[in-house]
Every structure is written in structure tokens, then in C-alpha cells.
């Protein structure tokens, strides 16, 4: 089946700093791909680059984006506008901030349909019901400040999905929410993506969320993909030292309490500190001179996974 979205060798720069370097992945209809990494790893700007909504200071220096097989990298802005919210949509981390405080729920959703609210009221009400908002007839005329965070995120999802896009980019959609609400939203996303055959790129830093919902995972570190592969395999047997350490550093409900957690020493290099070699080399227990000198390519690990580590085979 043709992937709904393909990103190839995407590179982004801020001034001279190489913020995102040759990032590539693809998502099939109905599939959830988790783009996971710590803050500053470039996962959010990647999503913005796909939508072509980069801040003016950022610029795309290479690569292309294919939406349903069509290269949209060079599309004029007008054509991009036609795609945004129609063929591909996006939801955000802070649902309350992502809604205009002075516009009603209905206005937002109708805007995604590009029609006045009075023309599409029924359709909007139906969508609100579908994203699990009780009493849609009342909620449709309310303002964001009258809704809870969870409800705002449901409204955002309604906005994003009402035009039945092929691709949904979800940028940390549950980070700002409480765990019980997070569970609700994740369930909702999973259900709608499956029903509507929407390809979802889920950007998150939470390995728990990834384990819960993602079909496949792409782990990012300092602007590059560290490894990609099916969720179960990544968690069971990481093929990159970063993934491995990351998983080991998370306290789990099954660990021994007060045990010493694995630690990734040091800190993420800033774009100004990026050297010629592997960007994880400075913190990696396996790093040697090769790692510091050359950029490890993404290699096929034969089990449907790719890893950007010279020493992938040495991992247990």
C-alpha cells in the first residue's frame, strides 16, 4: 500500500546551525508512527516543516515531503494552504493556547471546513459528538475558556479531522493533560485513526504513550534519527545505545523502588556544538574514535529496523 506520507532526507537549518539533518520516515494510512525524543531533538520542527509552517528564522536546506505520492516541497503557498487542514492536519501540545480565546468552538471547526458556521452547523455538531463532547449543542457556542483542557483537545481533534485528512500530525497532544484524561484522548485518537484510515505522526517524549498507541517508532536525537522500527521490537531490543539508555532511565511500576536508575551522562549538545561524528558520541558508553569522526549512516538491521549506530550489533 502506498504510504500516506513520506519524508525524505529532510534537513532544516537555523542560521548556520544544522538543526535537523536528513530525517526520513513514512506512514501508511491508519498507521500511528511515534516520533520520539527529548526536547530540542527536532521532532516538533520536523512536523512544522511538513506543514510548511516553519518560523521565519528556520529554513529547509534539503529533502522532500510526499503526500499521497505527490511532492509538496515546492508547492506554492496558495496550494499548500489548500492542503493544510484538508489533506493534512495538526494538533498541538497546549490545546487551550491553540484555540483563539475570542472565537467560539463552532467557529474554529467551521473554519477548517472553510464555510460559515451557519451553513455547516449540523456537520460540526456531529463531529463534536464523534470526538466525545457531551452536549454538543451547548458546547458549540462556548468559548475556549469555558472548556477544560481535555475538552479543548477534543475540539482541536474535531477541527483537525472534520475534513477527513489523510495525515494527522499530533505534536505532544497529551503532554499537558492529566493521566486519566490522557488515556481518554489516546483512546480517541486510536479509534478515529483506525476508523478513518488516517495516518498519524505522533510526536512525544513519553515512552509510555509510545508503548500504548504507536505501531512504529522513530527515535530522534539531536536532529537525527537514531533508530526506527516496529514498536514492540524497539522496546524489546533497542538497536541504538541512546534508545537503550533512555528506556533504562525510566522508573517503572515494576522496578525495585529506590534503586539507582540508569543515567545518560552529560547533556544534549546544542546545534553550535554539533561535530562531524555521531551526535550521541559525547554521552555514549560505546563511543570510539570512529563514532567521533564520522556520521553513522542509518543501516538496515534486517528485522524491519534501521539504526544509526556503528556498534548496533554490540548491544545485547
Amino acid at each position: 500500500m502506498q504510504p500516506a506520507l513520506i519524508v525524505e532526507n529532510l534537513s532544516l537549518a537555523l542560521g548556520r546551525a544544522n538543526l535537523v539533518d536528513s530525517v526520513g520516515f513514512s506512514v501508511a494510512p491508519g498507521e500511528v508512527l511515534a516520533l520520539v525524543g527529548e526536547s530540542g531533538c527536532g521532532k516538533s520542527v520536523t512536523a512544522q516543516a511538513i506543514m510548511r509552517l516553519l518560523a521565519p528564522a528556520l529554513r529547509q536546506t534539503g529533502g522532500r515531503v510526499l503526500l499521497a505520492g505527490q511532492d509538496i516541497t515546492a508547492l506554492p503557498e496558495r496550494a499548500m494552504r489548500a492542503l493544510r487542514g484538508q489533506a493534512m492536519s495538526m494538533i498541538f501540545q497546549e490545546p487551550q493556547a491553540a484555540l483563539d480565546p475570542l472565537a467560539t468552538v463552532g467557529t474554529h471547526i467551521a473554519e477548517a471546513l472553510r464555510r460559515p458556521l451557519r451553513d455547516v452547523r449540523d456537520q460540526v455538531l456531529q463531529m463534536l459528538a464523534e470526538v466525545g463532547i457531551s452536549d454538543p449543542a451547548r458546547r458549540i457556542d462556548q468559548y475556549p475558556f469555558e472548556l477544560s483542557g481535555g475538552m479543548c483537545q477534543r475540539v482541536m481533534i474535531a477541527c483537525a479531522l472534520i475534513s477527513r485528512p489523510a495525515v494527522l500530525l499530533a505534536d505532544e497532544p497529551t503532554t499537558a493533560l492529566d493521566v486519566t484524561i490522557q488515556a481518554q484522548i489516546l483512546d480517541l485518537l486510536r479509534r478515529l485513526a483506525a476508523e478513518r484510515r488516517t495516518a498519524v505522526v505522533l510526536i512525544t517524549h513519553d515512552m509510555g504513550v509510545v508503548a500504548d498507541i504507536a505501531d512504529r517508532v522513530a527515535v530522534m536525537y539531536a536532529g537525527r534519527i537514531a533508530e526506527t522500527g516496529p514498536t514492540a521490537q524497539i522496546f524489546a531490543r533497542p538497536r541504538h545505545p541512546y534508545t537503550s539508555l533512555l528506556l533504562a532511565s525510566i522508573p517503572r511500576l515494576t522496578d525495585a523502588p529506590k534503586s539507582t536508575l540508569a543515567v545518560i551522562e552529560g547533556r544534549v549538545p546544542t546545534p553550535a556544538e554539533f561535530g562531524p561524528g555521531c551526535r550521541f558520541a559525547s554521552r555514549c558508553p560505546l563511543a570510539d574514535d570512529t563514532c567521533r569522526a564520522a556520521t553513522p549512516p542509518l543501516r538496515d538491521m534486517a528485522d524491519g529496523r534501521l539504526s544509526a549506530c556503528f556498534h548496533a550489533e554490540q548491544l545485547p
Binding site: 512544522q48 506543514m51 509552517l53 521565519p56 503557498e77 494552504r81 489548500a82 492542503l83 493544510r84 487542514g85 484538508q86 492536519s89 495538526m90 498541538f92 497546549e94 493556547a97 491553540a98 484555540l99 483563539d100 480565546p101 475570542l102 472565537a103 474554529h108 473554519e111 477548517a112 472553510r114 468559548y143 475558556f145 469555558e146 482541536m156 477541527c159
Partner: protein, 306 residues
């Protein structure tokens, strides 16, 4: 909403009372007008006689109490110099002042706000720099100089506009531009800041992710949100436009209350000065109240509060 208004009115009353008191005492500290009124050769007795007749020989506190008493009876008193009711003297100037302030506001809003929005949307571009230089120029020249240059150029050399006075719409143009130029740059800078502020918010990105163009996002979402701080500044500025126009009114012979106030200060015509200041501060306070109401109209969060 009602409670908010009531609270504001109470604050306004306190502020007005403060204004009255400050102006009353500062004016009295500056001496009384008796010597200005008498002929130069008047003797000490003659001066004292007139001073007593005008009531300036009483203790300050007594004069203050008398003034407050008159005010409570809504009696603004009679001008010492013009021998006419102060209400009329100030009242006759108010239409001119409002016309000038209105014209200046039109200039300031009409140019300043669009310029500010353009500057924000084109941040870092050539257009922003050009507009910045333009709007800041308005705030970088002393009016008494730019005013006479305007008069000489448009009035004398080109002969397009009347050189002075307040007898036609044409004569409003130059003073309104000269006065509006100052406020224009304030508006432009404020509009730029608040639009920039709003543009950096998530809902703008979200709106663009729904397929809105930058301008559509600005016009549908940003402007209303950005209007709130601009409304505040506009309300503050109107007070300045009313009586801060002293120099513009002097240069263009525009008979507004600013000119009246300065002349009355120089003539120590106390009641006129006090009434002008009272009027200006009332308008200022009223404008702030209006701004509060405007927020409520714009912002459902405030409207929702009881």
C-alpha cells in the same frame, strides 16, 4: 460587569478629587492675578482693595472649601479675567478641542494602526524598517518647528491650505496632522508589539495549520486579540490629545482648551484652569471606562464575569 463599573466610577471620583486638589493648590501657590489686572501705576492700597474684592485675601483653606462648595452646587464660577461664566468659556472651546482631537485621532489610528500591523507581519523586512522610520519621524520633531514648516509650505508657498484659524474643514487638516503625528507613532508601536505578541501564540499556528493564510489568520483572529492592549493605550492617549495640544493650538491658532488653559495659567485665571483640567481628567476617566466596556465587548472571558 455592574460591579466593575461601579468600582471604576468610585476610583474615577477619587482621581477627580485628587486632580482638583492638586491643581487648586498648585495654582494658588503661583500667586494670584490681582497684579496682572491692575494698571501698572496702581498703589498698594488699590491693589489690596482689588485683592479683597476678588476674595484672594482669605486663607487658602477657606478658598478651597468655598470652591468645593460651589462645585457641589454644580457652579463652576465666573472667570476673573473675562467676567463670564467659566462653564461657557470652557464649553465654547470644547467643540474645537473635540474636532482637533478627533482629527488627530483619525490620523493616528488611520495611519498608525495599519502601519503597526504591517510592521508586525513583515517583521525584519524592508517594509518594517521603512514604516518604522516613518512613524518614528512623527515623534522626533518639535511641533513648534514642524508646524511652522507645514504652514510655510502648504499655506504660503503652495497656498493649498489656510494658514491659521478654525473656520473650515480645510483648516483642521494641518493641526490634525501635526498633533496626530505624535500619537500615531505611539499607536503604531503599540499595535506592532501586540500583533507580534499575538502572532507568536499557538492559535495562530493552529489557524494556519487549518489552511488560513497569514492575513486571514491576522484578520480573523489576531486583530481582535491584539486590540485589547491597543484600546488601553488609545484611551490613555485621548487625554493627551485633548489638552496636550497646547503647542499645536498655539501655532495654528486653533481655539481649543489647551491654548485656553495655557493663557489662563499665564493670566492666573484660576477657575478656568481648574475647569479645563477637570474636564480633561473626566474625559480621561470616561475613556478608561469606555476601554473597560470595550474589553467586555471584545473578550468573552470578561463578559462572562458577573
Amino acid at each position: 460587569m455592574i460591579r466593575l463599573l461601579a468600582g471604576r466610577l468610585l476610583q474615577a471620583a477619587v482621581a477627580s478629587f485628587g486632580v482638583l486638589t492638586i491643581v487648586f493648590f498648585v495654582m494658588r501657590l503661583s500667586g494670584d492675578p490681582t497684579l496682572l489686572l491692575v494698571p501698572e501705576g496702581a498703589s498698594a492700597e488699590q491693589v489690596a482693595q482689588l485683592r479683597a474684592a476678588l476674595g484672594f485675601d482669605r486663607p487658602l483653606v477657606v478658598q478651597y472649601a468655598a470652591y468645593l462648595g460651589d462645585l457641589l452646587r454644580l457652579d463652576l464660577g465666573e472667570s476673573l479675567v473675562q467676567r463670564a461664566p467659566v462653564a461657557g468659556i470652557v464649553g465654547e472651546r470644547i467643540p474645537y478641542t473635540l474636532a482637533l482631537a478627533g482629527g488627530a485621532l483619525l490620523v493616528a489610528l488611520g495611519i498608525g494602526i495599519p502601519a503597526g500591523i504591517l510592521m508586525a507581519v513583515h517583521r525584519g523586512g524592508v517594509l518594517e524598517r521603512a514604516l518604522a522610520a516613518l512613524v518614528l519621524a512623527g515623534q522626533s520633531l518639535p511641533t513648534f518647528w514642524s508646524g511652522i514648516l507645514l504652514i510655510l509650505f502648504f499655506g504660503v508657498y503652495l497656498g493649498w491650505l489656510p494658514t491659521s484659524g478654525a473656520d473650515s474643514l480645510a483648516s483642521l487638516i494641518m493641526p490634525a496632522i501635526a498633533l496626530g503625528a505624535l500619537t500615531m507613532s505611539t499607536f503604531a508601536r503599540m499595535a506592532r508589539i501586540s500583533v507580534l505578541d499575538e502572532l507568536s501564540r499557538d492559535y495562530v499556528t493552529a489557524a494556519r495549520a487549518r489552511g488560513l493564510s497569514v492575513w486571514a489568520a491576522v484578520s480573523r483572529h489576531v486583530l481582535r486579540n491584539a486590540a485589547i492592549p491597543v484600546v488601553t493605550i488609545a484611551a490613555l492617549e485621548i487625554g493627551n490629545l485633548l489638552a496636550g495640544a497646547v503647542i499645536v493650538e498655539t501655532v495654528f491658532a486653533w481655539p481649543g482648551i489647551g491654548q485656553l488653559a495655557i493663557q489662563s495659567i499665564q493670566a492666573r485665571d484660576f477657575l478656568v484652569v481648574q475647569t479645563v483640567v477637570l474636564f480633561v481628567s473626566s474625559v480621561y476617566i470616561a475613556m478608561n471606562l469606555l476601554a473597560d466596556l470595550a474589553y467586555a465587548a471584545i473578550d468573552p472571558r470578561i463578559r462572562g464575569r458577573s
